[in-house]
Symmetry: C2
Subunit: 312 residues, 2 copies
């Protein structure tokens, strides 16, 4: 294929888990599935146009759409006022699920558009553009979903000023099980209930766990990963918003999970496991716990995606 | 040498840097030098006896000496009431320096005695015994000096209940420069000025840096290590106790250091560098800054010890 002639591209943009246990606001990971499918095309009408959205009720107006604002930020920096990009979106990740629905749209849009621009921008620049989508979605331009969606694997946001994203080593045999209870938890509400100050001793415990989790990933030491998946700061507060959270945590570990926590700001809950078989036993346990509750739910079992958004 | 016949042993026990920047209370590292020299002997008089201390004024009574209480904890768990151990200590690490003087005595004592007991105890058990020395020295049985002294390299204390020590990867070409201003900063005072609560946003920044520092060590990414050596919680408070601290930090980085901070609870300040040549330039800069101050000081340049306490 001649690079100059690439006029359209289809991408798959994965769901992501942010706030990986102790790594609140800094550590995220990408799933292989579910994910949104998006098609992007060069257009002769300047600017960004969302032509269609399937699977969710979301605004078509570019300035009100996370994919739209991410692309607008990108085009502004690209600096060719005549350039137009059209995008159509098939949402497979439900908005408000806590597994990076808005991030997937923003990340897919900028990675796809970058293909049409012959990979003009670096992955870190793409993260910056996609963060504008997050700003629209939640009021805060956070990177802990868009970074793993764009870069793949486990990522760590070391700093925002300047933006500093670290791709962490991802052990081969690490799987994720996610349950999405179909209840609404708004990111803004979930953020409001957090305290502005925390005990120094709790913070120390948390960063001990963060350091150990990162070491566990590099050493592929699943026991160490398991011991480190502990959040003493945010989970005790936010978990009250999620039905049967403590039951899930305890019994999923009994079923073979290494550990887990709230995905993003919820309501989804994720569990990490060594190997697919454990991840599926964890899914069965989630079902067993949720089936009697009278709350609708979806369960996903996925490997961790090492690529992030990919062309399909 | 016949193992059963080992009646005495000489060890070298290294200085250590605890509170490695962002890793307050959890990350420590061992130096190759300076270090204490200790000789331990099996004795027919039950219990622990300190026969001599050279180089510092410290109590000879075992129950008042950090090496003594560490050995007493060890012998109690060993459970042979007739067993006696004698120890003589040559202190090369000045008490109160902030580079793990008490930890070196406690660590050297238990590693040496363990040789006399045919390596009966695991390194983690030895850390536990040596922590009793730290309890005597500072009121808190902390592990972030004794762990690197015993295990070597960079260590991370993930948890105390249960004790969980992680040995981190140590890049080959990482060097340490330490300046010890000859002023007194008591660990207990340094601890008292800390606030019990910290801002959540500062804590998040700190654990982002901890995760990135650990990733930098595993990836041997010196730039990432450099960017992560930032402490937004403790250093802003404690650094007021150390003459010319900010000057040291800024100008040592200009001289080639990756970064650094307060060693332990001070007054020593450490800087990490890539390679010996940079570490020596940093030492020159430290001297240049401190020479006009009218404060006595010692400067050390050392590789990171990957072995910890060693038999000599």
């Amino acid at each position: 294929m001649n690079k100059q002639n690439l006029q359209s591209v289809k991408v798959f943009s994965p769901a992501t888990v942010a706030n990986v246990a102790c790594g609140f606001d800094v550590i995220g990971l990408a799933l292989d599935a579910p994910g949104d499918e998006m098609e992007l095309r060069i257009s002769h009408t300047p600017g960004v146009k969302i032509t269609a959205i399937e699977g969710a009720k979301l605004p078509l107006e570019a300035a009100q759409n996370v994919a739209g604002v991410a692309l607008m930020a990108m085009l502004q920096e690209y600096g060719q006022p005549d350039l137009g990009i059209e995008v159509s979106i098939k949402k497979n990740i439900q908005p408000g699920s806590g597994i990076g629905s808005s991030a997937a749209s923003a990340a897919g849009a900028v990675v796809g558009a970058n293909k049409l621009l012959n990979d003009h921008f670096s992955p870190e620049a793409l993260v910056r553009f996609a963060m504008e989508g997050e700003r629209l979605a939640s009021g805060t331009p956070h990177a802990d979903n868009v970074a793993p969606a764009i870069i793949g694997g486990f990522t760590l946001v070391r700093s925002y000023q300047p933006l500093d994203i670290v791709r962490l080593h991802t052990p081969d045999d690490l799987w994720v099980t996610v349950i999405h209870p179909q209840i609404e938890v708004k990111t803004s509400d979930a953020r409001e209930i957090l305290k502005q100050k925390v005990l120094l001793k709790d913070a120390i415990r948390q960063w001990g766990n963060v350091g150990a989790l990162v070491a566990g990933l590099y050493q592929e030491d699943y026991n160490l990963i398991s011991r480190s998946l502990e959040d003493v700061i945010v989970e005790p507060i936010r978990s009250i918003l999620i039905p049967a959270f403590h039951d899930l945590k305890i019994r999923c570990k009994e079923a073979g999970a290494l550990g887990g926590g709230i995905s993003g700001s919820g309501p989804s809950v994720f569990m990490l496991s060594k190997g697919e078989s454990n991840a599926r036993s964890v899914a069965d346990m989630m079902e067993k716990i949720y089936a009697p509750l009278g709350v609708d739910y979806k369960i996903y079992v996925s490997r961790i995606s090492t690529s992030g958004v990919r062309v399909i």
